[in-house]
């Protein structure tokens, strides 16, 4: 595509920069005040002798469409496609296991000295932090309320039981941030542990 000055006289305008191209798709038109959007052919004629001629188009509204009926009967079909404004509350009895594997929480804040609420998406707050280059994995349990040290001791016991070969389990109890970090990949084990407790 080359930009060339195209000199043409139209209502006193001497010069206009226009994109000159072989392909019709790249043609640009300068539509004056007199033209309507329907009359593209006239605009083409005004644009200059070098522009290609597109087939003549006439946008007309057929008579059958002139009568418009307002109906709200189909709104339900539209509404069910709109995105949700807030995360819906899950239904189910406490402790119930859904077909997807998701478990309804059953523990109440008073049951244990600690309490681990679900995240906003109703998932368990166990996350794996991993730097992709190093083989450094850290499993963290967040949003631990109450006696976080009691939970950390129970987790340590549970993990030593599961992995008797491992001598040291490095744990970091971060009380101000309400989280426990364990060196290694223990997401599945911790999630099972918490589900058994009912969190």
């Amino acid at each position: 595509m080359a930009l060339k000055p195209c000199v043409r006289q139209l209502g006193g305008v001497a010069q206009v920069w226009r994109c000159v191209s072989r392909s019709i798709a790249h043609q640009t038109y300068r539509i004056t005040a007199g033209n309507t959007c329907h009359d593209i052919n006239d605009a083409q004629k005004a644009a200059g002798p070098t522009s290609a001629r597109l087939p003549r188009l006439r946008h007309t509204i057929p008579e059958s469409y002139e009568k418009v009926e307002v109906s709200t009967a189909e709104w339900s079909y539209v509404e069910r496609l709109l995105p949700l404004k807030s995360i819906p509350k899950p239904t189910g009895n406490p402790g119930e296991v859904m077909p997807s594997g998701w478990v309804v929480p059953s523990a109440k804040p008073g049951d244990y000295p600690y309490f681990v609420p679900r995240s906003a998406n109703h998932m368990l707050p166990v996350y794996l932090l991993h730097k992709p280059i190093l083989s450094k994995h850290v499993t963290s349990v967040k949003h631990v309320q109450g006696d976080i040290f009691a939970l950390s001791e129970e987790l340590r016991e549970h993990l030593t039981q599961l992995l008797p070969s491992r001598k040291i389990i490095n744990m970091r109890v971060h009380e101000p941030h309400q989280m426990i970090q364990i060196k290694g990949q223990f997401v599945t084990e911790l999630k099972e542990f918490l589900l058994k407790k009912g969190f």
Partner: protein
């Protein structure tokens, strides 16, 4: 939302007598129900039964006070504050990050050092390339030379602008509101209508109630009533703020933060809307290690 605020303003004169309002919060809470009551019934607001019981945090209750000391009671009613906004475990590091961000994002560094091309002189080759026993140099203002230009020094008008992630800003607000409430520095007031427009009246009121030297009044509408505007005009440490101006720095800067009922409801509604929306994870999606 605006028509709701206007409706509330109309109802204020009869608030004590007629309405028992529930908070305007997202769909998972109960809808607003107006229950007509006897004129002498106490005003209890935002008592929703739909607050998640499976959380250790319980809804907090706060007195609704008036700025009009002439009535029988200073406490006009009771309001329930949502635990996810006013009763979170405050994250001090996030509060700090918010304060630093608020100070730094508008900072422009004016410190400036000259490059070798900007230092005066140094256009000529000091001595020929070869022949003299000295090292080869092209200009007396190269960075190797004393008095020469600085290579990677500060350049004037460098912006320190950055945006803290949305989640951190939300958490900053909730942490600060929770901390203020826990420390008895958050007061809820029916509205900002005062009987007098004297600065001394307001100062005495704040002293009587042991509201700290500096007070921040937050209302949901940015056009405040006349009396309080005139009274606070001359006092620099008592300030008025609309809800959309609420920020961590201002809340920490002022000893006491006084919210009107409508402001607290507006804050709750907006923060809960953001905490409960399904695409929250898409905002500022950045994986942080060890945070």
């Amino acid at each position: 939302e605006h028509h709701c605020i206007m409706a509330q303003r109309l109802f204020y004169p009869t608030l004590r007598n007629s309405l028992r309002c529930f908070g305007t919060t997202p769909g998972w809470q109960t809808e607003a129900v107006a229950v007509p009551q006897a004129p002498s019934a106490p005003l209890i607001l935002n008592e929703t039964s739909e607050i998640d019981k499976n959380v250790a945090e319980v809804a907090r209750e706060a007195w609704i006070e008036t700025l009009d000391p002439s009535g029988e009671n200073l406490h006009v009613g009771l309001i329930h504050l949502h635990p996810k906004v006013f009763a979170t475990y405050p994250r001090l590091d996030i509060i700090h990050e918010n304060v630093v961000w608020q100070q730094k994002y508008r900072m422009v560094n004016t410190s400036h050092t000259k490059l070798r091309s900007e230092v005066r002189g140094g256009g000529r080759k000091p001595w020929p390339q070869k022949g003299t026993g000295r090292a080869r140099h092209g200009s007396i203002r190269s960075p190797l030379w004393k008095g020469g230009g600085v290579v990677h020094g500060p350049r004037a008008f460098t912006t320190q602008f950055y945006m803290l992630s949305f989640g951190k800003r939300i958490m900053g607000l909730t942490s600060t509101l929770s901390a203020k409430f826990a420390q008895d520095d958050l007061k809820i007031v029916e509205n900002l209508d005062m009987p007098s427009d004297e600065a001394g009246f307001l100062e005495k009121l704040c002293e009587d109630r042991c509201w700290g030297p500096s007070v921040l009044f937050v209302d949901d509408c940015d056009l405040m009533p006349r009396n309080i505007t005139v009274a606070t005009d001359t006092i620099n440490h008592i300030n008025l703020m609309p809800v959309y101006g609420l920020n961590v720095y201002s809340m920490l800067k002022h000893n006491t933060v006084v919210l009107t009922v409508s402001a607290s409801q507006c804050i709750e509604e907006r923060i809960l809307h953001h905490l409960n929306k399904p695409d929250y994870h898409l905002i500022n999606c950045a994986k942080c290690y060890n945070k």
